[in-house]
């Protein structure tokens, strides 16, 4: 099995992905970088690529980045596992969860 390089990294701060970028849609316009209250992102050093998530631990989960993005689908909100909601189907009584 070809080995990928293993680095000595500290634990990655978590939850690490308050949002998920779709690199096929995102054009790297950095609007989300600018509207974020917290500076969770920085522009990608490579122009035209999705921003880099630098401070996920500080995210306020206000969603301005997602709601202000001009390209639908380029960025989507991602609740940390412990914050995902539950609901119940009225017809079947089955309890469901946000488990995308």
């Amino acid at each position: 099995m070809p080995q990928k390089q293993i680095y000595a990294l500290p634990n990655i701060v978590s939850p690490a992905n308050p949002v998920i970028f779709n690199p096929d849609i995102c054009n790297g316009c950095n609007t989300c970088v600018e509207v974020c209250q917290i500076d969770v992102f920085i522009p990608n050093p490579e122009k035209g690529k999705p921003p880099v998530i630098l401070h996920p631990d500080e995210c306020w989960y206000g969603g301005c980045c997602v709601n202000h993005c001009p390209l639908p689908g380029a960025i989507s909100f991602n609740w940390p596992v412990q914050q995902r909601a539950y609901w119940k189907d009225k017809a079947t009584g089955k309890v469901l969860r946000d488990s995308q």
Binding site: E34, C36, I53, H55, G63, N67, A85, K88
Partner: protein, 644 residues
């Protein structure tokens, strides 16, 4: 490839800081009015000052376009007794709100025995809030159902297309709260500021107020700050300043990683900055001993709005696991939008859980709602509230359909937060009828003042403070800044970047929060409170000199910690000064157990004089007759903006 460590793996090196570093540069800005904080109150202050013909600079830690608690949105414009459908008189309504300051739910018909309100801000809100809303519409904010999306919804008036919320309007008795499309507000405000020529300094954190001759208690003549991306130092010289950085969200919060979950009612950017700088400049504050119980967030609990039952879930019946209706308010027209059961009602529900009458978990029964009301609650209210668009979007994506699904209510499953995880209460600067603080040249708006209200309160008081500050500027002379004061502040701010090891901002934040949790929580005594002051002093003397920041962003977080530290000291001093317990202040002293003894029904004020804490007091209605005093000072008020 979107996390920093992905880049590390890809390139074998850490990405460089993306912004040019300018720690050595200093920029001086000269303005008539300096607005500190570009949130709701700040933007309104800037707009109204600019419309009154003075030069305005506004400084915002984030980007004004979406900054602050109201940045993402707002669904309730709460206090508009002057709207054409209102059934109450604005002055009567102001009085009623001051007597029982309930901003959500049905107000009791009898005055509360004791209320710590802000009669000045409330009177301004009741008189000018509707004009403010109409000006927002002029700027492009959406305030009515112009697209006829909700024809037939209860509370919609077909002539004006205003949509009313049941909040504080049992069976349409008042019609004072308007449903609005608040996601449109902040961009409209920023655009109007730009159109009026307000100079906006985004990503600049203000760190201190400058006073005449650098003297504590003297006239405010400007402020210092730094750019939180490139580190550049900024000096602002002004004839008057409006302080609008709101309150503090995290003084008792140990966990910085999950701070984001503290989504209500404060943005993560609020760390008591304004309180701390005003205190050091010698301004007077009050209600600083009050705390709130921590309702949500910090990852300890499910996020506010994440489950049914919170503020925007109007007209939604709560049911138990078997579909039995709970005696929980509908948050609808019959109960005037009441959000929570009464304390007795809550005890009954809890008892019912224990004896099996009500089976957990509880749910909000969306499918039982009439279609139009369901759409109003799910699409309009939750869509516009603020952080809630995430909720509607992501739940729908995951398959949630309100026509078919009941949403779980997490409130009772989790119970209340532990008592040591508190929110800071309604403390803030004292103000006079011009919304001027105790310092000359310093005006105050929104959540920055004591006992402040909500979004529309911030908007209308911001608009008022901007107008009054502009009038002041026209009759005051040039300011002079003390270079010594600037030099000292610059040294304080840059100290953490001179170190590359020691204590980082997260560790310091938790250290401060822990001291507050130990020494200023549920059980308060003079001994504990004094130990708290000692603990914070030790942090200041031992650990602050070890604080290090590797880049301008971490420097901002570090300076926020220093604000938290000062805020903690103010709270402890105010807590020592109140030698009585008080229910409305959520303030209980073991050594002074009597609750709300009449002698202590007053505001306790604190301020620094020659760096010594000075306490004082004011009667609970220090503002006098609200209607008379408002009218005496606003004879020249011209109503809704008619300029270009």
């Amino acid at each position: 490839m979107t996390k920093w460590n992905d880049l590390l793996e890809k390139n074998g090196k850490v990405p460089p800081w993306p912004y040019p570093i300018r720690y050595d540069e200093e920029h001086e800005i000269d303005t008539d009015i300096l607005v500190i904080g570009g949130g709701i109150a700040g933007c309104w202050a800037a707009i109204s000052a600019a419309r009154n013909g003075v030069k305005v600079a506004m400084v915002e830690k984030a980007d004004t376009i979406r900054s602050g608690s109201g940045g993402p949105g707002c669904d309730h414009w709460c206090v508009t007794p002057a709207n054409p459908h209102s059934k109450v008189d604005p002055d009567d309504w102001a009085k009623r709100l001051v007597e029982h300051p309930v901003h959500a739910g049905q107000p009791p018909t009898e005055p509360l025995p004791l209320a710590y309100s802000n009669g000045i801000g409330t009177q301004i809100q009741c008189r000018e809030d509707f004009d403010t809303l109409l000006e927002l519409e002029q700027m492009g904010g959406k305030i009515r159902d112009v697209d006829d999306e909700y024809v037939g919804a209860e509370g919609r008036y077909d002539d004006t297309k205003f949509m009313f919320s049941p909040r504080m309007s049992p069976n349409h008795a008042t019609e004072v709260t308007i449903r609005v499309w608040g996601t449109t507000f902040k961009p409209a405000l920023k655009k109007e500021c730009q159109r009026l020529g307000v100079k906006i300094y985004d990503r600049v954190m203000v760190t201190s107020l400058l006073t005449e001759g650098g003297v504590q208690g003297a006239k405010v003549v400007g402020a210092t700050g730094f750019n939180d991306r490139n580190g550049e130092f900024m000096v602002f010289k002004s004839k008057a300043a409006v302080l609008a950085t709101a309150g503090n969200s995290s003084l008792w919060f140990l966990n910085t990683e999950l701070a984001g979950y503290n989504t209500f009612p404060n943005s993560r950017t609020k760390c008591g900055d304004g309180m701390s700088m005003a205190w050091k400049a010698g301004a007077e504050l009050t209600l600083m001993e009050q705390t709130g119980m921590h309702m949500i967030g910090t990852g300890l609990k499910h996020t506010w709005y994440g489950g049914s039952g919170d503020a925007s879930f109007e007209n939604l019946q709560q049911v138990d696991a078997h579909g039995k209706k709970l005696p929980w308010p509908l948050q609808g027209w019959p109960d005037g939008g009441d959000m929570r059961p009464s304390p007795e009602g809550m005890q009954k529900i809890i008892q019912g859980i224990k004896d099996g009458t009500y089976a957990l978990p509880f749910y909000g029964d969306f499918p039982a709602m009439p279609d139009i009301e369901r759409r109003v609650t799910w699409e309009l209210m939750l869509g516009e509230e603020s952080t809630t668009k995430n909720i509607t979007n992501s739940y729908e994506k995951a398959g949630f359909n309100p026509a078919k699904h009941l949403l779980m209510n997490f409130l009772l499953m989790e119970g209340n937060g532990p008592a040591n995880w508190r929110t800071s209460g309604a403390g803030g600067l004292t103000v006079d009828w011009d919304l001027k603080s105790s310092l000359d040249g310093l005006y105050v708006a929104g959540g920055q003042m004591f006992a402040a209200g909500d979004h529309s309160y911030a908007a209308s008081t911001g608009r008022y403070a901007g107008r009054k500050a502009a009038a002041y500027v026209k009759q005051t002379g040039e300011s002079k800044i003390s270079r010594d004061q600037v030099t000292l502040e610059k040294a304080r701010i840059y100290a953490p970047i001179k170190r590359s090891d020691g204590v980082d901002w997260k560790e310091l934040h938790a250290g401060i929060a822990r001291a507050m949790q130990y020494f200023c929580s549920e059980y308060k005594t003079g001994l504990l409170l004094n130990m708290g002051l000692d603990a914070l002093k030790e942090i200041e003397e031992v650990f602050v000199p070890r604080l290090y920041a590797l880049d301008p962003h971490k420097l901002m977080r570090s300076i926020e910690d220093l604000c938290l530290l000062t805020h903690g000291q103010i709270v402890l001093n105010a807590s020592l000064a109140r030698q009585a317990s008080s229910r409305p202040l959520n303030f209980f002293r073991i050594d002074y157990p009597e609750v709300d003894p009449p002698d202590w029904n007053k505001f306790i004020t604190v301020k620094l004089e020659n760096n010594k804490v000075k306490t004082g007091e004011m009667p609970l209605n220090y503002w006098g007759d609200m209607k008379t005093n408002y009218e005496a000072r606003n004879k020249d008020y011209t109503g809704v903006y008619k300029g270009k």
